[in-house]
Symmetry: C2
Subunit: 232 residues, 2 copies
């Protein structure tokens, strides 16, 4: 039995799902080896028992799990002799607040900012799926969504103000070390880091300095783009 993490990937194997990155980092945090298996949108419905419609999906030696937060909770409980992802119940519950912040404040903006960069790294089959699904969700063409990119990008620095304020007093969301809450925010920003050419923040911005520290963690796994390098 082995451990397999299924990950949505671009045509050249780039892992760009924010939710998968949360689990890549959490598995590394706990020192758990895994195979990272790239999938396309079209593959998702046939992962394992066919019951999943999104990634990540983790097959942990026969135990199947979806939803990144549930996976993190499972890893914390199952591998309780490895470094903690939450540092106690308070950390578990408040990590959900970080998840809610990323979901409601950052994701809607990043979904606009990254829309064409995501499209451009996909296979032809995924492009067709993505265009149909996203144009339905947005109610307009990808190109019309992209027309708002600069306006959305201009709102991004202010939306990170809570993080910037926190980083004035501690190096990680988890205090003196990274924890799952860091990986939740990292995954969110890594999504765009993998897809988009330019960084969003100045090199001296505390958010960018934290992001660079995150990229250095776990043998710099966040700086690697393709499956073999990530899971190695």
């Amino acid at each position: 039995m082995q451990r397999i993490l299924y990950s949505l990937s671009g045509a050249s194997g780039q892992h760009y799902s924010p939710h998968v990155w949360k689990i890549i980092m959490s598995l590394k945090h706990k020192g758990l080896a895994f195979d990272l298996k790239p999938v396309s949108f079209g593959d998702i419905s046939s992962i394992e028992d066919g019951s999943y419609n999104s990634v990540p999906v983790l097959n942990d030696q026969g135990t199947l799990l979806g939803d990144s937060f549930e996976i993190a909770q499972y890893l914390e409980t199952t591998y309780n002799d490895t470094p903690s992802l939450f540092d106690g119940d308070g950390g578990l519950h408040l990590s959900r607040f970080v998840e809610s912040y990323c979901k409601t404040v950052l994701h809607p903006t990043l979904a606009v900012i990254a829309v064409m960069d995501m499209y451009n790294i996909m296979s032809d089959a995924d492009r067709a799926y993505f265009r149909t699904a996203r144009e339905k969700r947005f109610g307009k063409s990808l190109e019309d969504v992209y027309a708002n990119r600069d306006a959305e990008l201009a709102t991004l620095p202010e939306k990170l103000n809570p993080v910037r304020d926190l980083l004035a007093t501690q190096d990680w969301l988890g205090g003196e070390k990274a924890m799952h809450a860091d990986y939740v925010l990292f995954g969110t920003l890594q999504w765009c880091n993998v897809c988009c050419a330019d960084p969003f923040f100045a090199a001296t911005d505390p958010v960018q300095m934290w992001f660079e520290r995150m990229l250095d963690l776990h043998d710099g796994v966040g700086r690697k783009a393709v499956s073999e390098a990530v899971a190695a």
Copy 2:
């Protein structure tokens, strides 16, 4: 020796400092009795040893502390046989993120919304101090600040989206029970609840439903307005 919490108060004794409410709730959470001593802006510089320029200030049987987060940490460490405010180190560090969210996202908006209501409950001496200090900070008259009240109020529901999203899966920020992070957000909103006539959210809004649960906690201390009732 006794325990004294100094609290900025209106002319009729209304406690409206967000940061003091964080500590009122945290002391109640830990079952620690205290005297609540109302002060005006003019009184702050002569609290205890005269070294403080803001509230809360806590005199805990001779130990003096300012800054609400430092007080919460002190209470957690000193009274470690009472109910926890953080539920572990992870909860402590991520409570700071909730603090940063309140400070950077909610406070600037609430400071505009509540500006005239705060002014109206103050003593004449505090009104003069407040007008000078706030007009300098805002760079315009209180009345001109107040002119933006409706515009700021319109932004408030969206700014609570991370909280609303979290409350879809758990009753408290702390999970199955309130913790310091709940008190941080509660204090922020209680500031306006004490000053302003009308609630900001519909009765069916999960944020308002959580706020009502908070008002019920600890014998409904949040529903009480004056010193004797609060500390009793």
